[in-house]
Symmetry: C2
Subunit: 800 residues, 2 copies
C-alpha cells in the first residue's frame, strides 16, 4: 500500500479506540453487570433477553474513529448519518467515548458505574431503543426504516456550507427504491453554497438471512454503477481471503481508510476551489464527479468466527445477536470475545477511558455527538412577510374566481426573498411547482440544476445552479431532502399531487415518530414543521382520472400522535394564505394543507379568513339563514370543492324552501372535529354542539373519504345525525362536475339528502326532490353530448 498517512502511534491509538467502541457495543448487547470483566463472566451478568444488532456495528465504529481523525486534523464540522440504524450500540458507544453522551445523560458517565448503566439501558424495557434513535446524541436519522440516509444527508448539506455530511449506506438499504433514486441528489448540490456529502457504501455482505445484491456484483459493475450515478468511488476493501490475518489486516485497512478519507476530503476541497474559480470567472460550474467510498468489510467484523461450528463473522448469522443461547459454552465464548478487545488496555480500573484514547476524539461541538445542527440548536425562525398583503379582494363572497395556490405562490416568493440572506427556506416537489401554480416563486429563485444544460434552456430560465426550488420526479427524494433540511433546523414546503403523496406514507410515519419522540427530549430543540401542500386533488383530475384520485393521506396522517399532526382544508385563497403563514411559523408539527389550484370562487376577506382559520371552523353567517337561532339543518363542509357544492346546494334549497333555516358551517382545521381530549385543537362538546347542534340533521360535504368525518366525530352528541358525503372511489377521466356527481357530493344530491332528512320537508319536498333528480339526468345527457358541464352549474355564483 502506497499511502501510510497514520503514524504507528496514531494507528495504534485509533485501533484501540475502535476496539473500545466495539467492546462497548458488545457490552450493550449482552451485559447486565460486570462491565469491565473484573470477575469471571457468569450467566447472571448477562441480560435475560438479548436484543440488538451486532452485524453492522463494528463497521460503523471503524468509520466513526476515522471520521474523528479527519475532524481533528482538518477542524471539520461533521454529521454522521447512520443508514444502518440498527447499529445503535455503535453510535451510543462512540458518543459515550467522546464524552457527548454524559453531557446529555449525566448518570451515564464515563465511570465503571456509568458503563454498567450504559450497558443495562440498551434495549432494556423502558431503557433506550436499539436503533440510532432520537435518544442517541448526534443522530438526525434513526435508520429504522431503510432508504433515506442519502436524501437526508443531502437535505442536511443544502445551505450548510461548513458541514461535511457522512452518509453511511448499508448494502441492504442500497437495495431499496428510495435509496437507489437518491444517489442522483448529486445533481442538486452546489459545491460552494452547500455542504459536502461523503457517502460511504458499506458492503457488509449480508442482510438478515441473505447476501446483499450489491455485495455480489463484480467490482467493475459497482464502479460503473456509481460512476454512472456521477460519483468517483474509492474502494476500501478487506479481501475476503485475508481478513483472518488480523494483525496485518488491521494495519493495512486503517492506513487504507485514512488515506481514502484524506483523498476524498482533498477532492471535495478541490471541487469547491474549482467551482469558486468558475464563479469568479463568470462561468457556470462544471458538475464535479463527487467522491464516495465503497467500504467492503465483513459483517460482524471482530466478532466470533464460529459458534458451535457455525460460521458467524462475515456471515448473516452476525446480523442480530450472534448467539443467544447462553449456556456454559457460550458464556465462555462471550467472555473470550469481549476479552479479545483487551479491555484493560482501553479503560482504567474505574471505568474511565484511557487518557491517550480520549485524545483521539474531537472536542466540544466538533464531536459528532454534540453537533448543534442535528439537535435543532442552530435553527432560526423564518422572516415572514405580512401575508395580509396578499389578500384576494372582491365585493361579494362566492362571485370572484382565483387560483388559491397561485396566491400562495406569491407569498412563498416573498418568503424566499426575505430569507435569501439566511438561506433557510426551500421548496421541493416532484416536477409540479409550476403545475401547482407556484410560478411566481421563479421571480425570486430558480430550480436547482447541475445536470447538463442545452441551448433551449434559455427559454426555460428557471433552471439555475443556485436555485432554491428542488424538483425531481421522486416523491421519496423530495421528502428525504426536506426532512434532512428540517431536521437540521431549516424550513420548507413540499407541494405534491394529492394522490401520490401516498408514495411517502411510510416516510411520513417515521418523521412523525421522530417528532413525537423528540418533543420529550429536552436537549433537542423544536424543529421547523414539515409542511405539505396537497393539490391537483381528487376532484380535479380532469386529465388523469381514476389512478390519480386518492384523498386518503389525511386518513393516514391522523393515525399518528395528535401532538404533532395538523390538517387544514382552506376553502379559498385568503384562508390558504392565513394557513400558510401559520404553518411556516409553527414548529415541530406535520402540517398537511389540501387546497385547490384551479380557478375557484372566493368566500372570505382576509379579516374573515384570519378569524375563521384561528377558530379552525365556523358558521358562515352570510351563507346561513338561521339568523342565529336554531336551524332546521346544518350544511357543513370541508375543502374547496365540497364548500362550493354545499353553498350551491344551500342556494338551491333556499330558492325552493325559503322557510327552511339552514346553518352553513365550514371547517378549515379538521382536528377541531375531534374531542379535545384527543387533539389539542379539538372542540369541547359544548362548543361542538353550539355549532353543529346536538339534534339537527347535519349534511357534511367532505373533501376526502366520508367515513373520516365519522371517525373524528363518533363521540359527539349529534353524531347519529351527521350524514357525510365524500369520495368513494368513483370517477374516471371526466368533467369536474361529473366527478362530484358520481360520488354524490354534488349540489343536487346534497339538496336531496337534506330533503330526505328534514322532517318538515318530508311532504312538501317531494316535487322539488324530483326536480333535482331530473337535473342529474339532464346533466348526464348534457355531458354525453357536449363533453362539458351544464352552463348553469359551471357558471354558478353565490347569488345573495
Amino acid at each position: 500500500m502506497a499511502q501510510q498517512p497514520l503514524s504507528q502511534d496514531l494507528l495504534d491509538k485509533m485501533h484501540r479506540y475502535w476496539q473500545a467502541a466495539n467492546y462497548l457495543s458488545v457490552g450493550q448487547i449482552y451485559l447486565l453487570e460486570n462491565p469491565l470483566l473484573k470477575q469471571p463472566l457468569e450467566r447472571k451478568h448477562i441480560k435475560p433477553r438479548l436484543l440488538g444488532h451486532w452485524g453492522t456495528t463494528p463497521g460503523l465504529n471503524f468509520i466513526y474513529v476515522h471520521a474523528n481523525r479527519v475532524i481533528k486534523d482538518r477542524d471539520l464540522k461533521m454529521i454522521y448519518i447512520t443508514g444502518p440504524g440498527h447499529g445503535g450500540p455503535g453510535l451510543v458507544a462512540n458518543t459515550w467515548l467522546e464524552g457527548s453522551y454524559e453531557e446529555f445523560y449525566p448518570s451515564i458517565d464515563r465511570t465503571e458505574g456509568g458503563m454498567q448503566r450504559l450497558f443495562k439501558q440498551f434495549s432494556f424495557p423502558r431503557g433506550i431503543p436499539s436503533h440510532v434513535a432520537p435518544e442517541t446524541p448526534g443522530s438526525m436519522h434513526e435508520g429504522g426504516e431503510l432508504g433515506y440516509s442519502v436524501s437526508h444527508a443531502y437535505g442536511a448539506a443544502f445551505d450548510n456550507p461548513d458541514q461535511v455530511v457522512l452518509a453511511v449506506v448499508g448494502d441492504g438499504e442500497a437495495e431499496t427504491g428510495p435509496l437507489a433514486a437518491s444517489w442522483h441528489s448529486n445533481k442538486y448540490l452546489h459545491p460552494v453554497n452547500d455542504g459536502f456529502v461523503l457517502p460511504i457504501l458499506h458492503l457488509n455482505g449480508y442482510k438478515i438471512a441473505n447476501p446483499t445484491v450489491l455485495a455480489r456484483l463484480s467490482k467493475e459493475e459497482i464502479t460503473k454503477l456509481f460512476e454512472g450515478y456521477g460519483y468517483k468511488p474509492h474502494f476500501v476493501e478487506l479481501k475476503h481471503e485475508t481478513f483472518n490475518d488480523k494483525q496485518a489486516t488491521f494495519h493495512d485497512i486503517h492506513q487504507k481508510m485514512a488515506a481514502t478519507m484524506d483523498a476524498c476530503l482533498d477532492e471535495l476541497n478541490a471541487i469547491r476551489e474549482a467551482a469558486k474559480a468558475e464563479i469568479a470567472a463568470g462561468k457556470p460550474i462544471t458538475r464535479p464527479q463527487w467522491p464516495m467510498i465503497v467500504m467492503r468489510t465483513p459483517k460482524g467484523w471482530t466478532g466470533p468466527k464460529e459458534i458451535k461450528g457455525k460460521k458467524v463473522e462475515d456471515y448473516w448469522r452476525s446480523h442480530q445477536v450472534p448467539f443467544s443461547d447462553i449456556d456454559a459454552e457460550n458464556v465462555h465464548n462471550l467472555e473470550n470475545w469481549l476479552k479479545s478487545y483487551e479491555p484493560e488496555t482501553l479503560f482504567n480500573a474505574d471505568g474511565t477511558v484511557k487518557a491517550e484514547l480520549t485524545e483521539i476524539a474531537p472536542k466540544g461541538l466538533h464531536r459528532m455527538g454534540s453537533n448543534p445542527v442535528v439537535h435543532g440548536q442552530a435553527s432560526k425562525d423564518l422572516r415572514m412577510p405580512d401575508f395580509r398583503n396578499y389578500e384576494v379582494k372582491f365585493e361579494k363572497p362566492g362571485t370572484v374566481n382565483a387560483e388559491a395556490t397561485r396566491e400562495m405562490g406569491k407569498l412563498l416568493r416573498d418568503v424566499m426573498k426575505e430569507n435569501e440572506e439566511q438561506r433557510n427556506f426551500r421548496i421541493v416537489g416532484p416536477d409540479e411547482t409550476a403545475s401547482n401554480r407556484w410560478n411566481n416563486v421563479f421571480e425570486e429563485t430558480g430550480k436547482t440544476w447541475f445536470a447538463d444544460y442545452l441551448p433551449e434552456d434559455e427559454h426555460n430560465d428557471t433552471l439555475s445552479q443556485d436555485g432554491r426550488v428542488m424538483e425531481i420526479l421522486s416523491e421519496h427524494t423530495c421528502q428525504g431532502w426536506l426532512e434532512g433540511y428540517n431536521l437540521t433546523g431549516r424550513h420548507g414546503f413540499f407541494s405534491c399531487y394529492e394522490a401520490f403523496i401516498h408514495v411517502v406514507d411510510s416516510m411520513f410515519n417515521q418523521h412523525a415518530k421522530w417528532l413525537k419522540t423528540t418533543r420529550h427530549i429536552n436537549w433537542r430543540k423544536p424543529l421547523p414543521s414539515l409542511n405539505y401542500l396537497l393539490t391537483s386533488h381528487v376532484w380535479r383530475q380532469d386529465h388523469n382520472g381514476f389512478s390519480h384520485q386518492d384523498p386518503g393521506f389525511i386518513d393516514h396522517v391522523v393515525n399518528k400522535r395528535a401532538e404533532v399532526i395538523r390538517v387544514y382544508l382552506p376553502p379559498d385563497a385568503n384562508t390558504l394564505l392565513s394557513v400558510t403563514d401559520h404553518c411556516l411559523r409553527s414548529r415541530h408539527y406535520v402540517n398537511v394543507v389540501v387546497a385547490g389550484k384551479q380557478p375557484a370562487l372566493q368566500y372570505l376577506t382576509m379579516d374573515q379568513a384570519i378569524k375563521h382559520c384561528t377558530k379552525g371552523l365556523g358558521i358562515w353567517d352570510w351563507a346561513s339563514n338561521d339568523a342565529g337561532g336554531e336551524p332546521d339543518v346544518v350544511m357543513a363542509c370541508a375543502g374547496e370543492i365540497p364548500t362550493m357544492e354545499a353553498l350551491a346546494a344551500t342556494d338551491l334549497l333556499r330558492q325552493h324552501f325559503p322557510d327552511l333555516k339552514i346553518r352553513f358551517v365550514n371547517v378549515v382545521d379538521l382536528m377541531t372535529l375531534q374531542p379535545k381530549e384527543e387533539h389539542p385543537h379539538g372542540l369541547s362538546n359544548r362548543e361542538f354542539d353550539s355549532i353543529f347542534t346536538a339534534d339537527k340533521p347535519v349534511m357534511f360535504a367532505f373533501h376526502g373519504y366520508p367515513w373520516l368525518i365519522h371517525r373524528l366525530c363518533y363521540r359527539r352528541n349529534g353524531h347519529a345525525n351527521i350524514h357525510a358525503r365524500g369520495y368513494k372511489e368513483e370517477g374516471s377521466t371526466s368533467t369536474p362536475f361529473d366527478m362530484v356527481v358520481v360520488n354524490q357530493l354534488d349540489r343536487f344530491n346534497l339538496a336531496i339528502d337534506v330533503i330526505d332528512r328534514v322532517p318538515k320537508l318530508a311532504k312538501i319536498g317531494a316535487h322539488v326532490r324530483q326536480k333535482f333528480a331530473d337535473k342529474l339526468v339532464e346533466h348526464a345527457q348534457y355531458i354525453a353530448e357536449h363533453g362539458d358541464d351544464l352552463p348553469e352549474v359551471k357558471n354558478w355564483v353565490w347569488p345573495y
Copy 2:
C-alpha cells in the same frame, strides 16, 4: 449506418403505420368530428375540453410498430408495458389499427364512424380514460402512477418462458425510487425458465415542466449506469441537431431501431442458448449482461415545432395538449399538423386502414392488444393441498404454543410442491421469509439468486438459480414483481413486516383500483388475488421498537372499494391455515392477513377454525360463561395478541367475579363489522346485535388503531357501548407485555375497563380494580429490575 435490416418498401409501410398511429393519437386528443379531415377543419370539430398527453405518444407508437415487425418476423408473443401510461392515445391507436380494439369494443370499428367514436370517447366524460388504463386492450399496467413498469415487466416474465416483455420506461419515471431499484431485477431472471424482458429507456427529454435527469447525463454516464446495473445498453438516438431533417432522419432512425431490436432479440436468444448449454453441462448459469435499449427521441416528436413563436416539439410544452387555445390560428395549426401525416395515404375514404398497412400488424393472439396473458385468460387455479392436514393439535384451548406463520409455511411448502409442474406460484418478501418463519418452504424450493456465489453459500443452500422464493430488500420491487405475476394470471404471497408494508401504500392503491375497474370489463378474466401476510407486527417489535410499530395498513386498505378488499386477523395457527387456503383459492381481491410469528397460544381445532373463519367472527363458547343467555359484558377481540390479552382479562374477571356473565367474541374477518350495505361480508344489524348485543358494554381489544373499530361499527345499534383499545403510538424497545401495557391493551387494563363499565360491578369491583392497578405497578417494577415480564403473565394459560 451499417445495418439496414428494412427494405425500402417495408420501411415506408412501417413509417406510414407509425404516422397512422400518430394521426389517430392527435385525433383522439383533439377531434370530436371530421375524423378524416374531409372538410376543412373548424372550431366545432374540436373538443370543447382538451385533455390528454401528447409528448410521450409518438415515441410509444414508434416502438409499437417496430415491436410489430419483430413479432411477425420471429413469431413472438409479446407484452407491451407502457411505463409512460399517459401515452394512452398511442396504445389505443395501435390496438385499433391492428384490429384488437374493435373485437373488444365492436362499436369502435375500423370505419370512419368507428374512428369518429374512437376520437370522441377519449378523455370524454364517461368515455375512456386518458391513460393506458384497464379499458385499453393489451395493457396490464396503467402507468398512471410512475415507478412500476420494470418490476411489473419482470413479474410478467417470471415463469412465462415464451413471452417477451417490452418495458418502456419514461425518463421521468426513471427518476423514481421504485424504478431505480427495480433495474436489479435482472439478478432474478432465469434465462431459460422465465421469459425475456427488454427494457427500453425512452429519453424523451422532459417531464411536465423540467428536463429529466437521465436525459441530461453524458452518454458515458448513462452507459456506465446501466452496465453497472448489469445491462448492455444499445443506443437508438436521434441527434438533437439533426432531427429537423425529417426525411433522412426517419429513414435512419427506423433502420437503427430495427437493427437494434434485432440485435437485442438475437442477444436474448443467445443468452438462452448459452444457459441451456451450461445447464446441460451441469454448470451454474453465468449471469448474462442483459440487453436493453436507450432510445433518445424528441418529446412530442412529429408534432408542431413551434406554436405562436414558442418551442413545442422537443420541449416540455409537448407534455400534455401542445396547444389548447383554439382560435383561428390554432385551428389552422392543428389542421396542418394532422395533414402532415397525410391521412389520405393511411386510410381509405370509408375510414378503413389501407390494406398494405394492416399487413404490418401481427395476427390473432400475436397482436399485443390481444395477448391473452395480460387479460387473465391464461390463468390456472392453484392445485391446493388439503390444509386440514396441517392442523396444530392440542388437548385444551389456550394451553399449547405454536408459531402460526411457521405452520402456514408448511402449507405453502406443499403449495409449491403441488404446483411445481404448473410453475404458477411464487413467494416474495424483503429478506424476511425465514424471519417470518416460512422456512419450511426451503425444503421444496430455493431463493432465486443470479448474483455472485461465494464458497460459504454452501452453508446457505437456499440460494438457487431456479428458486421460487424472491427476496430483495425493496418492498417496491417485491410488490411490483408479485403484481406483475398476478396480472398475468399467476399466484403468490407477499410476506412483510407489518410496519413497512406502508412503503407500498401507493402501489396497493393502484392495484386495488385496477382490480375494481377490471371487475367490470367482461373480456378481462378474474385475476389471482394479491395476498399479503403481515407479521413481525406492532406488538412484537422487541428488537426494533417504535420505528417498527405501525398497524395502519389495514386502515389504508379499507378506504378502497369493498368489492376488492378483504382483511383477516386469524388469532392462531389453525385459523391462519384456513384463511390462507381461502386466500389462495380466491380471485380478484386484495387479501390482507395479519398474523403472529412468535410462539403463541392455540385456541381452535381445525374444525372449529374452519367454522369460525367461514362465519368471519363468532362467540367462543368455551371462553364465555353467559351460557347462551344475555351477558353482562361482551369481551371482543381481533388479532393474535389482543385475543390472548382479552382471554387473560376474561380469566381475571371470572376468577374475581364468578357471577359476571362474559360473552367472548373473536373477529377474524374484519369486514364483518361493517354494515352489509357497505361490504359483502358485513353482518346485518340483526346478526350483529345477536353477537355484540345492542345495549351491553363491549370491550374490544383490537390489533390496530382502536378508532378503526369505531369507523367500521359507527352505524351499529350498540356502537355507543363499544370501547375499543388498540395501538396508540406508544412503545419503544421493550418486552412483549410492556408493549400492551403502555397502550392499555393488557389484561389488567381490559379488566379494569370492564369493571368501570358494568353497572353491577360499580361497587363490588373497587377492591379488585385496585388489585389490578397494583399489578401494573408491580409489572413496571419487575421489568425495570429484571428486564423481562412477570412470570405469571409470561406463563399464563387458559385455565378452564
